[in-house]
Symmetry: C2
Subunit: 134 residues, 2 copies
Amino acid sequence: MIVRTTDEITDTDRDVTSADGNWRSKRIVLAGDAVGFSFHETTIAAGTVNEFHYAHHVEAVWLIAGDGILTDLDNGEVHQLRPGTMYLLDGHERHRVEPVTEMRMLCVFNPPVTGREVHDEHGVYPLVEDPSRV
Amino acid sequence: MIVRTTDEITDTDRDVTSADGNWRSKRIVLAGDAVGFSFHETTIAAGTVNEFHYAHHVEAVWLIAGDGILTDLDNGEVHQLRPGTMYLLDGHERHRVEPVTEMRMLCVFNPPVTGREVHDEHGVYPLVEDPSRV
């Protein structure tokens, strides 16, 4: 059993802020934990516009707080985001997230994020193999 | 992309209350979604004593609200649970959860729960194969 707290991982290498400062992601479970998924708390700042594309990962995002707009850039569909909304990127959809108020969400990635990925010029996380992965 | 809300799944077959009424689990992602994990919001009532054992699943639990006590029944270790605490059952540990105040947590299971499991006499979820699973 592993027990960790959000406070414990804050300001460690599990706590990542985007280069533009728009979002911050605290990864409490990563690929190195070898459980087949990673689990993150992500906050995105109010008034920002963020395009993401996880070409190699499925992601589920469940909003705890905040509201805004989600646009599926593959088909143009727009969804309202409020506390309790969950979106599941089961088709590697390119998407845009525009928080009206700061959003706080818990996110699950499969395969797990290793923590060493950076978004490339397309906003894509590469698939990084973790030697500790079982 | 799938978009759902906690409200939409409330009082559907994705919303399960334990036989003793101690806990309620809203499963927003299940095995049928075929993404390799399930994702649940679970509330456990204050003052209850709950023993769990997931012999076939890994589970990560991240507390959003509430506090209480977690006991690892395999080694007797006791952990305080507060908002922001995460526990990862990576070794199928038998464990006891005793909320002092109502706990609200987001939980990830691998392999995903199908939604048709019931806890058996040992508090174990059996491994149910989902024919829709990829």
